[in-house]
Amino acid sequence: MKLIYVLSVLFAFLCCNLISSKDILADSKYSETEVPDGGTIIGNVKYMGELAAVGLNLYRDWELSDTSKTTSEKLICSKVNSGLKNAVVSLKDITQGKKKIIPAIHPIIDQQNNYFIPHVIAIVSGTTVDFLNGDEQMHNIHTRSTRNQPFNFGTTYKQRISKKFDYPEIIKITCDLHKNAYAWIVVLDHPYFDATDRNGYFEICDIPPGTYTFQVWHEELGTLEKEVTVHPKETTTIEFVYSQN
């Protein structure tokens, strides 16, 4: 009886594998090639609107100098150059290019002082993310994705939960015990993307020469698009500006 059970599980497993690998193939429009003469795009994402009232200060307990104008997690913007943090810049509809490198060291999202750190990460499909709990209390990690299997795990101090994200999707992660804590994982099916740093800068390199639509996504401000021509072995600078709406 046990053997039959084991066999049937094995059989079901094989079936699932066949089906899901077919799925992935059907889904991904991206193929890898050599890019000997790729160009680079560097740039800056800015936010020129009025800023929301000063909220929390994430670096309060960390003795790091704080250079942001706003301190709400939703909208972090540099005082110096209006650079917008946590925006994700990517190439839209790219079908061919450099190899997708899946990081062997898993990116981490940690829960510290009841917040998720970092607040936004961008990853290539197939990447495993490790979720940690750095607080000496209970948290949970709750996602609502459809393509990638969602999950909701309760975690105690020092727990580590590893989850692989196989399909392109923008996923919000929340903790139901601390309602203002949340984070975003942006999964893309190609390696041409970057999340902006705290001065709004990004860099995308080894792009096959040609004209592409670049897209920037921000959780509060939505998306912007721009057509850009990439020249062989050259660096082009672009800028995205979210004006107030």
């Binding site: 599980v9 899901s20 949970n140 795990f153 727990q159």
Partner: protein
């Protein structure tokens, strides 16, 4: 061909035939009473759903049927494939048997009645209809059910251990309250994935939505309730600790509350 080889061959084919027959049987979803759950949407299924389920769950399974408006908890929106009562891990789709069970036993404390007025065949026939409402069933398959270990005895020591987990290690009280009345400090602000308010379960009533046996309770906090804030605690506990927590949670039932 030498007779011995022939014999070998024959016995080989016999074994293969028997195992594959057994395989077929164990793959085809069979419930306790050997009801076959169809894999495709049938006319019987469509008719049954339209007549008995769509007034609440809606024509397209969005949980927005004509009588659903003022209801809380809301009838399930089937479009995301988020099912609360499962034997499968957090986030996974349910097995067909999980759905069959919920349809047959209903959901206490809600308007979802046990559908034992329908025949077993009718209940089985709506399952492919429910699944057809969500693309999740096309892109994913349910994970294997979680393992439920051998039950331990509910000794006093075990109950004390369960209490410690409930109050200190996993802090269930933050949502469910120290006495299990569903009134913990985080209880008021909870909402489900569809944006509706949801109350952490009041254990004192004893009317567990997912079933009243220790195994049901064990499964609820091990697998979590998909689409709700109730997390899965799959990684945090050993099997024995799980049973202790189960007994402790069930010890919070107040007999006088169950009669209400």
């Amino acid at each position: 061909m030498k007779p011995k080889v022939l014999l070998n061959k024959v016995s080989f084919w016999c074994v293969t035939a028997v195992t594959s027959a057994a395989l077929m049987q164990s793959i085809a979803p069979v419930t306790a009473n050997e009801v076959k759950i169809p894999t495709e949407v049938t006319d019987l299924g469509k008719d049954t759903y339209k007549k008995y389920c769509s007034p609440c769950h809606g024509e397209e399974g969005k949980g927005d049927g004509p009588v659903a408006r003022s209801m809380l908890p809301k009838p399930r929106d089937f479009t995301r494939g988020a099912y609360k009562f499962r034997t499968t891990p957090s986030g996974s789709l349910p097995t067909d048997e999980d759905i069959y069970r919920t349809v047959s036993f209903g959901v206490p404390n809600s308007t979802m009645i046990p559908w034992d007025i329908l025949t077993e065949e009718q209940r089985a026939s709506v399952i492919p209809v429910l699944k057809s409402f969500s693309e999740a069933f096309e892109v994913r398959k349910p994970d294997a059910p979680v393992e439920v270990g051998l039950r331990v005895r509910p000794t006093e020591k075990c109950l004390a251990e369960g209490k410690k987990i409930y109050e200190e290690k996993l802090e269930c009280w933050k949502c469910h309250g120290i006495e299990g009345r569903g009134d913990g400090p985080s209880a008021a602000e909870q909402e489900d994935d569809f944006g509706f308010p949801i109350k952490p379960f009041d254990f004192t009533t004893g009317k567990f939505k997912g079933g009243n046996s220790p195994q049901d309770v064990y499964l609820r906090f091990t697998t979590g309730l998909n689409g709700t804030p109730m997390p899965s605690f799959a990684k945090e506990l050993t099997d024995e600790e799980r049973w202790c927590l189960t007994y402790y949670v069930m010890s919070l039932i107040k007999p006088e509350e169950t009669k209400k």
